[in-house]
Subunit: 437 residues, 2 copies
Amino acid sequence: MTSYTTRCLAAASILVVVLALVLKCLEPTTTTQFYRLIVWNCFVAFLGFSLTVYGIPRTKHKFPPCLQGRDQGRKGTPQENTPVPEGVGIVSGAMFLVCLILCQLFYAYHNNSKGTERLMEYDAALLTICFGLLLGFCDDVLDIPHKYKFFIPTIAALPLLVSYRGVTDIVIPKPLRFLIISAADDHELTFVGDLLNHFAPIDMASSGAIVKLGLFYHFYMLLLSVFCTNAINIYAGINGLEAGQSVVIGLAIVVMNCLELTHENDPVVFTGNDEQHLMSLIIMVPFVATSLGLLCLNWWPARIFVGDTFTHFAGMTFAVAAILGHFSKTLLLLFVPQIFNFLYSLPQLMRIIKLPRHRLPTFDPKTGLMRASRLNDRKKITEDGEYNYHNLTLINLVLQIFGPMREDKLCIYLLILQVFCCGLGLMVRYGIAGYIY
Amino acid sequence: MTSYTTRCLAAASILVVVLALVLKCLEPTTTTQFYRLIVWNCFVAFLGFSLTVYGIPRTKHKFPPCLQGRDQGRKGTPQENTPVPEGVGIVSGAMFLVCLILCQLFYAYHNNSKGTERLMEYDAALLTICFGLLLGFCDDVLDIPHKYKFFIPTIAALPLLVSYRGVTDIVIPKPLRFLIISAADDHELTFVGDLLNHFAPIDMASSGAIVKLGLFYHFYMLLLSVFCTNAINIYAGINGLEAGQSVVIGLAIVVMNCLELTHENDPVVFTGNDEQHLMSLIIMVPFVATSLGLLCLNWWPARIFVGDTFTHFAGMTFAVAAILGHFSKTLLLLFVPQIFNFLYSLPQLMRIIKLPRHRLPTFDPKTGLMRASRLNDRKKITEDGEYNYHNLTLINLVLQIFGPMREDKLCIYLLILQVFCCGLGLMVRYGIAGYIY
């Protein structure tokens, strides 16, 4: 168990290394104007981190009783009834928004032919993230029913879609093109292609490589926002996991943005559009910084909980960055653990198997370890005779495979899995994409 | 005491009349595209009103204990300890944001040469209002210290200023021009004019009529946002006053927008710029509708409190509408009671006279009437020998002048004052402005 100061210093060192790498890597390739913006962005991000680690210990006593939770992972220990402030993500979220607003001041002067469009997208991004934060905080305070949680992010994402000025075409991977267009004769549409053509026009000039999705693409982006907002929320519950996974995914996006920005002249593997990736980078760097600050206090043994506030706005931030950065398909490659957790949870989410109030792993006060939880663990919800399943979550699955372990070790295992999946995702995107597109 | 249903029906009738008048008055002068947008806007506003009056009674039991207040105006009655949900402005605020987002869908298709700029301003407006709502709700839940309440609206207004594409010049009233430019000889600058010219260039071609304020104008807009956000917040505390004054000011702005939109060919008295006033109208109509819905439940005897949530986002909404509608000076004419209340409160706000926790009027349970409160009314805060002042608020002043009265009568008096001031403000703007500009 490390002290808060040690953790903060460790996090600050990691952050400084990351920021230095970003600055080092982007210096040779970008214009002076771009580079100044990135320097300012990194500075603001570090400021946001500092204010977060400074601010949270000084505001957490302000949280009212309705925002004080009990740590389910300390049941049976003397700390069982220690109230832990919930929804502290509001502090890092507010800092993050302030960082974004400060960066916008510079971004506004970064004029070019499409300056107004970019600024509009920036405003829409801020709005969507702010709405996500508001939704999350309301959820923590007022406990919004589940049905609205799918409805509200849809509304919140609408301004972003209205302001979206990017392409709405997708490129069909080469191995799948035969489904749409016959390779043999003079590029005629197949039956599937013909059917598809009724809904989304296929660009015949590109030999069926490009399908103009139009409104369907907007619909896909809406779904992405709803998915991201909820995906992190259901892959949560142990100290440090929510903020940890967000930091890992955020870093993966930063790496991707840097790759794209340094390879802008290679439009085969890379999208060759630097402005989108610049915007995504500007959003992601302060996000990683403030989430890292939050993680310092949320790491086991947690003195604060991030709450739905954090999971909602973090998910929305990823969706926004992916939509404005035009890498919404790549984002799904970084979300593999979340997607797996969602699919694996489906039988419970769809109530085919009973869904208890909490599906967290069960803490064993004798050994101090976490073990996979079963449906009946907390409250009897199935008949005695009935088969008592494990709760269907990725966290439980890891515990079933590796056996009981302490909460921080479990979190590290899950974060390693996230790092592995994100690394693999980036390799797939940049290693294989060149062959199939 | 009327039932909730009666009040809702009365409010709905008022709203329908207002919407019908707006539609009737704008039909002959605007283009079909504009008019369709306004029809959609009115429809969405009515929907927002209906959802607010439907939603609040169904969500108010969800408010946790930290968001349950006691009505200070019922002290000594059996209802003294009945908890009243606080911060219910979040419901009407969320509905209002949803209305604005739905209107944006139409607005986005209303393309013209400046379509992107307008859409950007719309996004920035939504963002600023959303931030105001978030700030207000956080204040209700976490009780933000006063010093930050001046700082945070400043940050929230920055995206709006960055996205602001309007003029930053002001026109000097004719009777004051002699201060800047000498009328006698060949239009030379006076000493004051010369001094001013160092900071803000004076347009000599217009004979000193126009001063280019530039960044100073941005600074003024920032101050306006901070002022509006806090002005309504300190002119509050009796049932129905916060929502009531907002509805009155909102209606005055709607009237002004309609006047401007129907007189767009008369650029002497009117600004002659219809797009700005269209945007302000689109923001104000749903705001009036949702606030009217809130007022139904907040009217004496209040079953809900609007909370700082409402006062903050309402103030921010006015500031946003005024900035984007380019009538920030006229807005101050509509805010006369708030400005008077602020100036009158200054000795207490600046701690020259002691400031108790609450400055609400004191309720006398024997008579059931409110009377002007004194500094010592609730808790002894000054020495016995010292002179015990009345609290310096406009509400108390009205009670000192007209004597004790019931809370709803007091609210009606204050609202009549607001209507009178707003009417006078509009008359000054449109009656006298033609002579002095």
